[in-house]
């Protein structure tokens, strides 16, 4: 075990996987010489050269398409899209092609392609460089989507994605690169579709993922001082979601608050609320509550963005409201 940042955990995991398997290569804008705009791929070009660290033109459709074509031809591409917002530029290749080829071909194709990208707001990067678009991806049968919140999960989920024979999308949160944690030096998998109980508690279950898992833990710490005992579930994967862990927890705590950075309407929270009501309705003492971004594009000004992105204090406020049944949940 060593203490690594999320960024380094990603970089290390990828280096080890590439070392072990020549079929893995990375393709994207400025991934080679520059090492990625956020430094995710730093140094890999020195080790693996231009053959395996492929800098491309600004051509997101063709970049993802290249990954798909190489994957059906037996390679295991890592396709990097600088910002999650650019997923939209490549959406046909992702949603109409990568996600569906295997099914349309009667099962005969294998698509071991991993898309890596950087999502999330909070850097005043405005509406086209700050989005959390996971719900759109989760809606497409055929894709798997993971959104780790710790260095340990970053490496473990990356390894699982690279070993998976389906198209996977790994979303890093731009504000989490510096977050540190213990990471084993050997290769290991964090199974896709397995949540983690990040904190055990009896009073209420907070379901979150990516950076909102950390914010939820901070909220739980704040509430512990008030005698409120929160359970925090870090989903880690958003497609598939580990609904069993969520339902089991809901049956114990009888209250659920779902937190995400994406807009509330038709977000993951809606799916989780629906499934919890399907599987744990009789156990609930309060409606499933959601803490999420409002229904607007991400604003540029820090003054507006601070009200837009959920944080520990807003999560804590919702948890208090959910515990106090007399009060209507808001937000």
């Amino acid at each position: 075990m060593t203490e690594l940042t999320c960024l380094k955990a990603f970089n290390d995991g990828l280096r080890q996987m590439m070392d072990a398997d020549d079929d893995i290569f990375v393709v994207g804008e400025d991934v080679g010489r520059k090492g990625g705009v956020f430094g995710s791929f730093t140094g890999l070009i020195d080790e693996f050269g231009e053959r395996r660290m492929v800098d491309t033109p600004i051509s997101e459709q063709a970049i993802v398409g290249l990954g798909i074509g190489a994957a059906v031809s037996g390679l295991r591409p890592v396709v990097d899209l600088m910002f999650m917002d650019f997923v939209l530029v490549a959406m046909d290749q992702l949603a109409n092609q990568a996600a569906k080829l295997k099914y349309m071909f009667g099962g005969s194709a294998r698509l071991p392609v991993t898309i890596t990208t950087n999502g999330g707001a909070g850097l005043s990067a405005a509406a086209q460089h700050s989005q959390s678009l996971e719900a759109m991806l989760c809606h497409v049968p055929g894709l798997k989507v993971v959104m780790p919140s710790t260095p340990y999960d970053m490496k473990g989920l990356l390894v699982s994605c690279l070993r998976d024979d389906n198209p996977t999308v790994l979303v890093k949160n731009k504000r989490m690169f510096g977050v540190k944690g213990e990471v084993p030096s050997e290769l290991y998998e964090v199974p896709i579709g397995e949540a983690r109980i990040a904190r055990q508690g009896a009073d209420v279950t907070v379901v979150a993922y990516s950076r909102m898992a950390s914010e939820s833990l901070a909220a739980a710490d704040e509430l512990a001082a008030e005698g409120i005992d929160c359970e925090v579930i870090d989903l880690r994967s958003v497609q598939p979601i580990d609904i069993d862990t969520v339902v089991e927890s809901a049956r114990r705590t009888n209250r659920i608050v779902v937190v995400h950075e994406a807009v509330r309407f038709a977000g993951l929270g809606a799916e989780i609320a629906a499934q919890v009501s399907e599987h744990a309705f009789d156990y609930l003492d309060a409606p499933v509550a959601r803490v999420a971004a409002p229904f607007a594009p991400v604003p540029f000004s820090p003054a507006l963005e601070a009200c837009y992105v959920p944080d520990a204090s807003r999560i804590a406020a919702q948890i208090r409201a959910t515990l106090d049944r007399g009060q209507r949940p808001s937000g």
Partner: protein, 334 residues
């Protein structure tokens, strides 16, 4: 072609100096940590925006890029509202909602900077369609970088404009880099303008450090478009002085000092000033006076921006839609 009049030369100059001084100031403020987000500075490329926009009518539209400040200034943008926007203030062009990458002034027919590479190119084609539809004689300009010509949106838009014979100018600002990647690693042609031939539109390559050359090429292309001759492509060879974003190049060095110096030695602003003096369009004293006047305008813009309030959080949900937003709330608890 007749040489541009002295008045045109002075007009081009004013546009260039407004861009230069605004951008230098924005860069200083950004580097001092007093500006949120990230900015892509236009310094070095002034001759393109100024030369193009001086050849346009006020009702001609331009669509822009992530490196869009220069296009708005060249269209006559208000420096105070721009600076306020860059600082995220309520008085900015977008009320603080857009920032550097989304500055716009629809009253000036500047259809917005754009955070998505290539995203503005089809929009200019749409503006060109509207102009042809209304037969108003206006043209539209798509500004885009060399890197943007590698994205599908550019190719679809170029083909569409040519097929529909729309009055659109495709102005490529070829500064030889897309972020940190040199152009010759991302396309197998020597000149971006070669792409025009694939769509059956005329293309010219001009020295993008020479505002007069840019002006003349634009005037010719605009004339052609106004007379129903369809779209054209103008490649302007230029250079950005600063980093892809911000001022300083941190981390990987991707351009040699010699290369940067070589381009800076061909600075479009003093070059244009020398030309004006030599043809008697302006005296050195008058040039200095114009620079002082614009420097004062920039200072006032900074002052305005700094004094302006931040947006009111109550406005967070305003302007997601035109007209009243649907504020439907569920029924209160029974």
């Amino acid at each position: 072609m007749t040489a541009p009049s002295h008045e045109v030369l002075r007009d081009i100059h004013r546009r260039m100096v407004r861009i230069r001084l605004f951008e230098e100031a924005a860069g200083r403020i950004f580097e001092a940590g007093r500006m949120p987000g990230f900015i892509h500075l236009y310094v070095g490329q002034e001759a393109v925006a100024a030369g193009v926009c001086a050849a346009l009518r006020d009702d001609d539209q331009v669509s822009s890029t992530h490196r869009g400040h220069g296009h708005l200034v060249a269209k006559g943008g208000d420096l105070s509202r721009m600076m306020a926007e860059l600082m995220g203030k309520a008085t900015g062009y977008c009320g603080g909602k857009g920032g550097s990458m989304h500055v716009c002034d629809l009253d000036l027919n500047m259809l917005g900077a754009n955070g998505i590479v290539g995203g503005g190119v089809p929009i200019a084609v749409g503006a060109g369609f509207a102009n042809k539809y209304r037969a108003n004689g206006a043209v539209s300009v798509a500004f885009f970088g060399d890197g943007a010509t590698n994205i599908g949106a550019f190719h679809e838009a170029a083909n569409m404009a040519a097929a529909l014979e729309l009055p659109v100018l495709f102005v490529c600002e070829n500064n030889e880099y897309a972020e940190f990647t040199p152009r010759d690693q991302t396309m197998a042609i020597d000149d971006v303008v070669e792409r025009a031939a694939a769509y059956g539109m005329p293309g010219t390559k001009v020295d993008g450090m020479d505002a007069v050359a840019v002006f003349e090429a634009t005037a010719a292309a605009a004339d052609r478009a106004r007379q129903g001759g369809g779209p054209s492509f103008v490649e302007c060879k230029t250079y950005r002085y600063y980093n892809h974003h911000g001022v300083q190049t941190l981390g990987m060095k991707y351009r040699s000092d010699d290369e940067v110096k070589e381009w800076r030695d061909r600075d479009p602003v003093p070059r244009h000033e020398d030309l004006m003096v030599s043809v008697g369009a302006m005296t050195p004293d008058r040039i200095a006076a114009v620079r002082d006047e614009i420097a004062a305008e920039v200072e006032a813009a900074i002052e305005f921006a700094e004094q302006s309030p931040m947006p009111d959080p109550a406005d967070l949900l305003a302007d997601v839609y035109s007209g009243p937003a649907d504020q439907r709330q569920p029924l209160p608890p029974a």
